[in-house]
């Protein structure tokens, strides 16, 4: 499981630390000794097909267990969004933080292909809340979230008959309703038309604006350019660079990153 470790070396605003994380799948190494520290509010994991982006996201979420190494989420203070002025808030750093009411961050994930339960749109959102112990006015709160993703008018419709773009917005609403500290998104705009991509992008921005940290993989460079704070570039199961988005899209540090932006790597 995800384990919280408060080490001396961990910076106060770090969300997540990966230490020498490797993952073997079907006899070959998908990720190889990845060490990184996530602190940005909007981190994008980029890289060519088969680089291991989705696997990395699932390891972060705990859906997959690393073959080696450790994935450590930093505790967050109760009712305080992660990364938000964490340094200032915790003042004395590690010690002050560990005395406060700290808990592991709440994670939610949106997948490339949204899984819609065979029930109404509203019930899909309410389901996630009910599972996570939300007891009071689940349905009216679900309705609020649906309004925020622009689907209030479809609340009563069976979720599985919606279009792909609408389903993805339902999935975003379902995740958003959990008020996650961190939202993981695996290619949420893949196989959507430009209009739907815009809608999804706007919703992600709004979720981020509410204090939720975003970790997202995508093939859409435009989306990454507009939303990313930090870029982690993966190539053949290794991190070749982790830089600010401006730096990455301006002048990538690694050769693989340069090739990728030129379009030589897909």
């Amino acid at each position: 499981m995800v384990e919280a470790v408060l080490g001396e070396t961990v910076m106060a605003d770090t969300l997540l630390t990966l230490d020498q994380v490797s993952f073997d799948g079907r006899g070959h190494r998908v990720l190889d000794a990845i060490s990184l520290r996530l602190s940005a509010r909007r981190t994008f994991i980029l890289g060519p097909n088969g680089a291991g982006k989705s696997v990395l996201l699932r390891l972060m979420h705990g859906l997959l267990k690393p073959s080696a190494g450790e994935v450590c989420w930093e505790p967050v203070l109760e009712d305080r969004p992660p990364g938000m002025a964490a340094g200032a808030a915790s003042g004395g750093g590690v010690n002050a933080k560990s005395r406060a009411a700290a808990r592991l961050p709440r994670l939610a994930m949106v997948f490339q292909r949204p899984v819609m339960l065979r029930r109404s749109v509203l019930d899909n959102v309410a389901y996630g809340m009910a599972v996570n112990g939300v007891a009071d006015d689940v349905r009216s709160r679900a309705r609020d979230v649906l309004a925020r993703v622009g689907l209030a008018h479809l609340a009563a419709r069976p979720a599985r008959v919606l279009s792909g773009g609408e389903q993805q917005r339902v999935a975003l609403a379902r995740a958003w309703a959990l008020k996650p500290d961190v939202l993981l998104l695996d290619e949420p705009t893949a196989s959507l038309d430009p209009h739907a991509i815009r809608a999804v992008e706007t919703i992600i921005s709004e979720i981020a604006a509410g204090g939720t940290a975003i970790v997202m993989t995508t093939h859409h460079r435009g989306v990454a350019k507009r939303l990313a704070g930090d870029v982690i570039f993966l190539h053949q199961g290794r991190v070749t660079e982790q830089t600010g988005a401006a730096q990455f899209f301006g002048e990538p540090v690694s050769q693989a990153g340069r090739d990728y932006l030129k379009g030589d790597l897909e």
């Binding site: 939610a108 899984v115 339960l117 599985r160 008959v161």
Partner: protein, 234 residues
Amino acid sequence: MSWILASLADAFSLALSFDPQLYAIIALTLKVSVTAALVSALLGATLGASVAVGKFPGRGVLIVLFNAAMGLPPVVAGLIVYLLLSRAGPLGGWGLLFTPGAMVIAQVLLITPIVAALSRQIIEDAWREYEEQLTSLGVSRARAALTLLWDTRFSLVTVGLAGLGRAMAEVGAVMIVGGNIDGITRVMTTAIALETTKGDLPLALALGVILLFIVLLLNLAAHLVREWSVRRYG
């Protein structure tokens, strides 16, 4: 071939004669088999969902057993229930032998493995689609099983129908534990078997045609319900 047409004609005139004896047999057939199918649907789907979603030692063995038990011969199921319910048997005190209750028990034993094996497959396929999403939401396995049962409900109706069809069509189990007593435990299949041994083949065939027709009607209704719900809920 004319005897086939004659039997069809017989079947119609028999069905339209409103013979109370015939309708009592049809009613008992439906009562016994529908009850057995409902009980089996509950038991089998619960078992199927538990095995589909569960992780426990012996899971593979259980799946093989379910699948093998689909081929359980009705007479063997009947024999087992007969031994359990006979006066000297462990459940002899219930006094159920040669009653419709015994027939229900035998049919439940016969079709629960079918429902369990088929629903296990359906729910496991759905679990493959849902697993990451439900795990991500923090859903427990027990709750996931319930969610999957609900989400595969249309397919499970078809499984239940397969069970009902098997129950209504079998003769060996109800013959042994029911005894084919006129007016008490005689159902369509045992009546057909009896008429056949008596040599009244046209009557046996006419009864057979009526049985087929009932099964056809049930399946047509279920098909329409399923079509409608799939269009409605996706």
